[in-house]
Point group: C2
Chain length 264, copies 2
């Protein structure tokens, strides 16, 4: 994997070792990538991952806009697919301008910071995902996430710049981080937190889904094919909400294997 070879920006002065990664999916303007790096470092976030930047990599416009946060760019992980970017993470939130027709929990930036904090306490590695300028995120990528973050903008003028979305989430993360352990989690949150295991790496979960879908496909579950997409989505959403641990993913894989063996 590329991230094994890259330098580590977490040693930067002021880096917050518990901060979530930031994933930009298909960003178009180098300026926005540079402004993202600056906004991240302003609030102690250092792990940047970029999926298929439109203008290639490295990008001079990004460096020019980073204003001293170039270490974030130098150590960024640049990959071809969303799956690669989230592979080693276990709790991922997608930022979108508007809620989609999806059964995923919806958080404000402040609530998102709190959720990431709770997941970190359980050793989850967390990431915040941002789509391309204007286009946003693809539904299929959002479905791989554990929740949606919506910035409470003016409904008559809702569109905020990519780097500004990153800024707001990074800011809320730092505010939450500075509160430390004393911060008030709601009773419901504490309850959920206590009851939930540490989620599995996303790559494990994706392998489970692929395994399941393949096996189902071979058994014409997705016939007629017009229904395939909706069926996959519903399966994924339900399993995703469970927040499966690594052990549970293994368990499900075993179950699928068993189910697909010939009957004794």
């Amino acid at each position: 994997m590329q991230q094994l070879a890259r330098k580590d920006a977490r040693g930067l002065d002021g880096a917050d070792p518990n901060a979530p990664s930031v994933i930009l999916v298909g960003p178009q303007l180098g300026e926005n990538i540079g402004a993202t790096a600056r906004a991240m470092l302003n609030f102690g976030l250092t792990d940047l991952r970029i999926v298929s930047p439109r203008d290639g990599w490295p990008n001079d416009a990004a460096v020019a806009m980073a204003s001293g946060a170039t270490a974030i760019l130098d150590t960024a992980l640049v990959v071809d697919s969303f799956d690669q970017a989230i592979g080693d993470t276990s709790y991922v939130l997608a930022t979108t301008a508007r809620p989609r027709e999806m059964r995923l929990p919806v958080y404000s930036p402040e609530e998102a910071a709190q959720e990431v904090h709770l997941q970190r306490q359980r050793d989850a590695t967390c990431a915040l995902v941002f789509g391309a300028e204007r286009r946003g995120l693809e539904n299929e990528d959002i479905l791989k996430c554990d929740g949606i973050v919506v910035v409470p903008t003016n409904p008559s003028f809702p569109s905020i710049n990519l780097a500004q979305s990153v800024l707001l989430l990074a800011y809320e993360w730092r505010k939450r981080s500075l509160l430390g352990e004393e911060a008030p989690a709601s009773i419901e949150q504490r309850f959920q937190s206590a009851g939930r295991p540490t989620p599995a790496p996303k790559s494990d979960f994706e392998n489970l889904m692929a395994h399941l879908f393949d096996e189902l496909d071979e058994r014409d579950y997705f016939f007629p094919s017009e229904k395939r997409h909706a069926k996959e989505r519903n399966l994924r959403t339900a399993l995703s909400r469970a927040g499966l641990s690594e052990g549970e993913v293994r368990m499900f894989r075993g179950a699928i294997k068993s189910l697909t063996r010939n009957k004794r």
Copy 2:
């Protein structure tokens, strides 16, 4: 006054009639002014005031960056002095990168939004002030404000872009605004709020200070002149913290007048 002649942006869709004004003092880059306009409208703020923009006005770079928020620029008040910009306001907070050696209350962006909310409930007209790129605000302008707002950035990389400071404060304002009246003010805040009158317009307060300083000057209070600055500042800070109402300002003016009359 110029603001009487200008168009009113508060009628824009999604405009929040209670939102504070935004004052940019000596901004250098049109891009930042445009991005400020966009960030403001994103969160329902519409009243922009600009003191001595470096590149004059109107500014094409500002329009290009405003992305549909040009109505904010079209209706902006452009003036030559900070005093003109704050003349009709009565509660003003200055955003600075780092706290200064001043006895003014220091707020986080979230606390600032709460303070503005409390002042609005008492019919104060409020403004948030932002200094020039890099240079920030002059001490003498900060001293005319009622408090300081500090964004909690990474101390190793604290400098955030001008429009991003505006964004964070506008965002916190909207969050506070969406909470409505139900939001929790601390007991201390409620107590202070109940005990404080609606503050006077800044122009009234400045006239009071000018009146006081003139009268003192004529009586060699500021001799030797090296002490003048510190003495003025200390007077101003003390009176400013009192949050004088319009009536109280009148009362003080009357008191000064009396004091400076010949003895009977």
